[in-house]
Symmetry: none
Subunit: 425 residues, 2 copies
């Protein structure tokens, strides 16, 4: 089975500034994936005939489908029609019935069509004009050899409905039914290279399976994602293959995989807490409330989040959590005994099932040779059973905060999942 | 003046899915513009040697500078080094001293370097390896004819500092003429259309000034940014023009402009607190710790952040802040009297100068006809002087939380600035 290869070209100089990215390509990609096209290249070019012509010509050498977005307006800046005609070596023809349609669109709004809008009724010879119910610029459909070329207006509310029409009338089906289906496995607590060492022998085999699955590994801060893409005739086949793939990866990666269904870590932890009717209170020092903010990003989290003590000063640790001055002096505020006392203090004072204590050095100042910036002690206490560990995170202040909140959530997840397994034995 | 032409290539199959766009190119564009390069083309390619090689080869025919981002990791997916070597027709050499550096980076975290990380020490022959203080992948600098080639790791916190080093050491200066200088005015508490109505007559005049300034207005959640771009021969001329421009805009926009020097709102508030030797305690309900997390994102914030009470449950409001059941029953938890009692309770119990209380309905559930989702009561108390107001924010749960934290910070900023002005009268 051959995959059809698509190229998306976004036209507009504003997308070559530091202020704006192309986002239209996301919806185009989603629609094309659903009918079996694989997007292999995206380009952003400015409003320049020669540069667009060059980009388009290079795509024409390999793509089965080229989608060009934008540059179909009426002004001098709008060069898409001219660039495509130049590459295809055909003249631009004026379509009078389209001029009439644009003119009546203006008339319906009580306006006279400016003469420059006639340009929008020009099309490379051989093109089919696609009606635009939401704007003046018609779309264009062109076939050249085995390549299909689609020209769409840039505004999303014009682009999306027109694309759907073109897919329905002209594109759906030609791939013989194959489509792309995706699944994301999320992993935390392990290094990217470790994960890949374990996972590669597994996912490497799937590339040539009857339902082939390609895998991309993506490391983001405090987290690794494995993106699995299956090519299949229908969702049932794809889901069966992806279920099996996720299961096999789960076997080699173990508990490090925290989600295969799109949920983020705070949602997974929330579901575990809710399932057990547990409540949670946290005592945060270096994370400054970030952990609780993440927990409360989940809709319905008020069912289990009771309170949080953000104890930035030593005084607040003493006053709110009952940490003794002696403990702080003996071990230092950043230490496992203090983290543990914070977790227990939060849990008992809030009368919850779970307590978490986090104390560390987020930087850039405050590090010592013994406890460099990035040192964070984390304690999780579930009904009197505790896990305490010291981490060394790398990165700036915000990275240390995020990784600490991630490690705390993951520790709690592992404790609650262990608890589940014991419960079912 | 000739403009130097740059091409940016982002490598990563995940950016060819419907789920992720390249945003790294925005910061790269900003930095390149500042030293006189014009970005003419952006490409996104997948983790595929042949496809990356083809994209790179086509850029090599016209670009003065090619920046390739990503694909420098240790796994099979990371194909940038191999693709560039293939196009340049040079072998990949292993740099043992880089292996040592990567190995010791792992060792500092108490980990053993996996063997696959040796790949990150490979480089096309003739390349200069650029040290990466924030990750394992070194960057690469290659010259081929008149084209400079820069290979950067994908993670923003690795990419940005490395790019700045390369610009400083290798790129700055070559454009020999006009450069682009930018300034960002940050505004909160007003609508985009309002801001533009006031600002447009002012910035409209600058386009044809001796040192021309173009202005872009960019609305992001809870905030509006005016990006001013001056074209000038040197920084002194640009700064003089931009100072004048910022001052004129300040006159029409007034106190809504909270920063013209790049600081974000939490840093501006932090500087005001530090300048007065004030301390702050907060009582957060619907924001769930987000306000305090933002305050503590600022380095050195332990000088003024004392503690925060994240009181998600009513019980915690009563126990920690001394809110009476009667007050909660009479007005409801989401009300100005409760927000005010929270602010005063936080301030007096923590013995700080400033207290903030936030209580609201972040959604998606919990709204009523009287108090729909997005209703948030915010109180700020500075040494006994209070401002209390109810806001109606639009958006999902995280948007409501962010906007509430933004409004609380802005209210405090305005109170502290007023306080300054009275002090100097």
């Amino acid at each position: 089975m051959t995959k059809l290869r698509a190229c998306i070209i976004a036209v507009g100089s504003e997308m070559l500034t530091p202020f704006r990215v192309d986002t239209n390509s996301l919806v185009v990609t989603e629609r094309l994936n659903a009918i079996g096209y694989d997007v292999r290249l995206k380009m952003v070019v400015g409003d320049d005939v020669e540069e667009l012509a060059q980009a388009f010509a290079s795509a024409l050498t390999w793509a089965d489908l080229i989608v060009v977005m934008g540059g179909l307006g009426p002004t001098d800046d709008d060069v898409t029609r001219a660039a495509i005609a130049q590459v295809l070596e055909v003249p631009l023809d004026l379509h009078e019935h389209v001029v009439d349609r644009i003119r009546s669109r203006f008339a319906r709004r009580g306006m006279t069509m400016p003469e420059i809008n006639r340009r929008q009724a020009m099309a490379p010879r051989g093109a089919t004009l696609i009606d635009n119910p939401n704007g003046t610029a018609p779309g264009l459909w062109i076939e050249r050899g085995s390549t299909a070329i689609v020209l769409l207006p840039g505004p999303p509310r014009e682009l999306t409905p027109m694309l759907d029409t073109i897919i329905r009338d002209r594109l759906e089906g030609p791939s013989g039914g194959s489509r792309l289906f995706r699944r994301v496995l999320r992993i935390t607590g392990r290094a990217e290279s470790d994960v890949d060492t374990d996972a590669q022998p597994v996912y490497g085999r799937w590339v040539s399976a009857p339902i082939p699955i390609t895998t991309t590994i993506l490391a983001v801060m405090g987290q690794i994602e494995l993106h699995l893409t299956a090519t299949a005739q229908n969702r049932a086949d794809a889901d069966a293959a992806l279920d099996l793939a996720a299961e096999e990866l789960g076997k080699v990666l173990g508990a490090a995989v925290y989600s295969a269904d799109g949920r983020n870590l705070e949602a997974v932890v929330g579901d575990l807490l809710r399932g057990k009717h547990f409540t949670i209170a946290t005592a945060e020092s270096c994370t400054g409330g970030l952990l609780t903010s993440r927990l409360t990003d989940v809709p319905g989290s008020s069912a289990y989040v009771e309170r949080s003590f953000v104890c930035y000063s030593n005084r607040s640790k003493v006053e709110l959590l009952g940490i003794t001055e002696a403990l702080l002096t003996e071990h230092g505020a950043v230490s496992e005994p203090v983290a543990h006392a914070m977790a227990v203090g939060a849990r008992t004072r809030a009368a919850t099932d779970v307590g978490i204590g986090i104390t560390g050095i987020a930087g850039p100042d405050g590090g010592t040779p013994d406890k460099p910036v990035g040192t964070v002690a984390i304690a999780v206490d579930v009904r009197g059973e505790s896990r305490v560990r010291t981490f060394r995170f790398i990165g700036g202040r915000e990275q240390v905060k995020f990784q600490a909140s991630q490690a705390a959530l993951n520790t709690l997840r592992l404790m609650l999942e262990d608890n589940d397994q014991r419960g079912t034995r």
